[in-house]
Amino acid sequence: MNNTEYIPIAALNQYAYCPHRCWRMFCAEEFIDNQYTIEGTSLHERVHTLGDSNREDTWQIRAIYLKSEKYQLIGKSDLIELENSEWYPIEYKQGLKGEWDNDELQVCAQALCLEEMTGKSVTTGYIYYAHSHQRQLVEISEELRQSAIATIKSVQNLLETGIMPTATYSKRCQGCSFYNQCLPQVAEKVRRYQEDI
């Protein structure tokens, strides 16, 4: 992969969840649907019906490309709002607020793109949780920016080298759709295994 390739914003979220998972999805291109990803997809299909509309004084744009040359990012936004000449990226998520904070990174990456595309600084974004119909505010803090930029670098490195990050078992594995492909506990099991003579 060379420098003209962009990093999919969605990969940041996956990387933050588990680097090995990110490798499977974006390097090995293994993608196996399970219930969660299928539900997630249909939600996104709804959100991604291209269009714009007005909600009171808010101008809403759905499903447009977001891009940053500076960070080599590309992705599709679920929803962008413009209110009082301030831009807000909004990311839709199936289900409840996750246990992990990786969704915030994705919002931050969208904010970085929006800033570059509009020339205005973006200080706030939202995550919309479909299950509870709630919006959660994401403050695009300096700390979040730094962590997003660091993740962008890691993902860039992953995509360029293709070097597989080790699969390490953690609590996250239980909710991971790759569990049966990845078998994160198998290395330990093989180490302990003593074949019958």
Binding site: C27, A28, E30, M164, V186, A187, V190, Y193, D196
Partner: protein
């Protein structure tokens, strides 16, 4: 549901919405949702519509064509994963590499240990049998395997071990009217050999499916050399499963008198032996049942069906080649 076997000559395999629909003389003889199918094997002369083929690819259902006697013809393999890293690890290990030697030993050791295990079990059960010579030969082949340093010597030990096992095989047959002399193929000329060949063809369909799901190139193997159009890796990974699945099903079919001599037909001139339609159905049912049987996987320490264990072994192989685990553990049964 598992694998669907189409054995009706001149059947027409089509699809209606998202269901597989098989017709014979304009009557539907099978109608199942495609999501319930994980493999389709067409035996003998049947036709399949292009739309069905497209749908099989779409649902990632592998399709194998066999003759009505079970001889392999061709296979349609949907693309499963673009795992170029696994393929590259697979290719890097080709030839006489440390990894190729390690995994080849694993395949053969698994097979020979499983052979030995079934002889030991039979010996315990039927004290009048004399299997000790075969068991001793298998044990020495297994012991020598540890020292083998080339693929050729591993192949030699595999040959010696298999010969020892098959020299005992006739004793494992507990009924009067069936006999086994030596392994013969292309075409098999006695009922036992015809069942073994058929069983191995079915197993190959299943193992190749698992290999493909994991993202391997099935045509590059280690123990079996490359030959154009031969799925060498599938043949490699099949080794450890042969005794556990196919031989066990063949012996059960015969010893439990599920198949009787009248279930077989002998072709004139060639003497090729095959199953009658009725016999074939009985055998396919047994094979299918065996695949759905659960057992405790010795490495995973969890219950899996044999069908699932094909994929587990393929994933273990992938992990070894990718450097994620330090050894390839073949499936060795207790």
């Amino acid at each position: 549901m598992g694998t669907v076997y189409i054995t009706q000559e001149d059947a027409f395999i089509g699809k209606v919405d998202e269901r597989l629909n098989v017709k014979y003389e304009k009557k539907t003889i099978l109608d199942v949702p495609l999501i319930k199918i994980d493999g389709l094997v067409v035996m003998g002369r049947a036709s399949i519509s292009p739309a069905t083929i497209a749908e099989l690819v779409n649902y990632k259902i592998p399709l194998t064509f066999l003759t009505n006697k079970g001889k392999y013809i061709a296979r349609l393999e949907p693309e499963m994963s673009k795992n170029i890293f696994l393929r590259s690890a697979q290719w890097k290990a080709m030839g006489e590499s440390t990894q190729a030697i390690h995994v080849s030993k694993g395949f053969v050791r698994g097979k020979l240990k499983n052979y030995r295990q079934s002889l030991l079990q039979a010996q315990r059960r039927y004290t009048e049998l004399n299997l000790s010579a075969g068991i001793t030969q298998l044990e020495s082949a297994i012991a020598n395997l540890a020292q083998a340093t080339s693929i050729d010597s591993i192949r030699g030990l595999e040959g010696a071990g298999s010969a020892a096992y098959f020299s005992c095989f006739n004793q494992l047959i507990r009924v009067e009217n069936f006999q086994f002399h030596t392994r013969n193929r292309r075409p098999p000329t006695d009922p036992v050999n015809s069942l073994l060949s058929l069983g191995y063809a079915l197993l190959r369909h299943d193992v190749q499916g698992a290999i493909n799901i994991v993202g391997f190139d099935p045509y590059l193997g280690y123990l079996h050399t490359e030959r154009y159009g031969r799925p060498s890796l599938a043949l490699d990974l099949m080794e450890e499963f042969r005794p556990v699945i196919v031989d066990a099903v063949v012996l059960a079919a015969i010893n439990r008198r599920i198949l009787v001599p009248t279930d077989f037909i002998t072709e004139p001139v060639s003497n090729a032996v095959s199953l009658t339609k009725e016999g074939l159905h009985k055998f396919l049912r047994l094979y299918q049942e065996k695949k759905q049987t659960k057992f405790k996987h010795p490495v995973m320490q969890k219950q899996y069906t044999y069908q699932e264990s094909f994929e587990i072994q393929a994933r273990l192989l992938a992990k070894y080649l990718m450097g994620e685990i330090e050894k390839y553990p073949p499936l060795v049964m207790k």
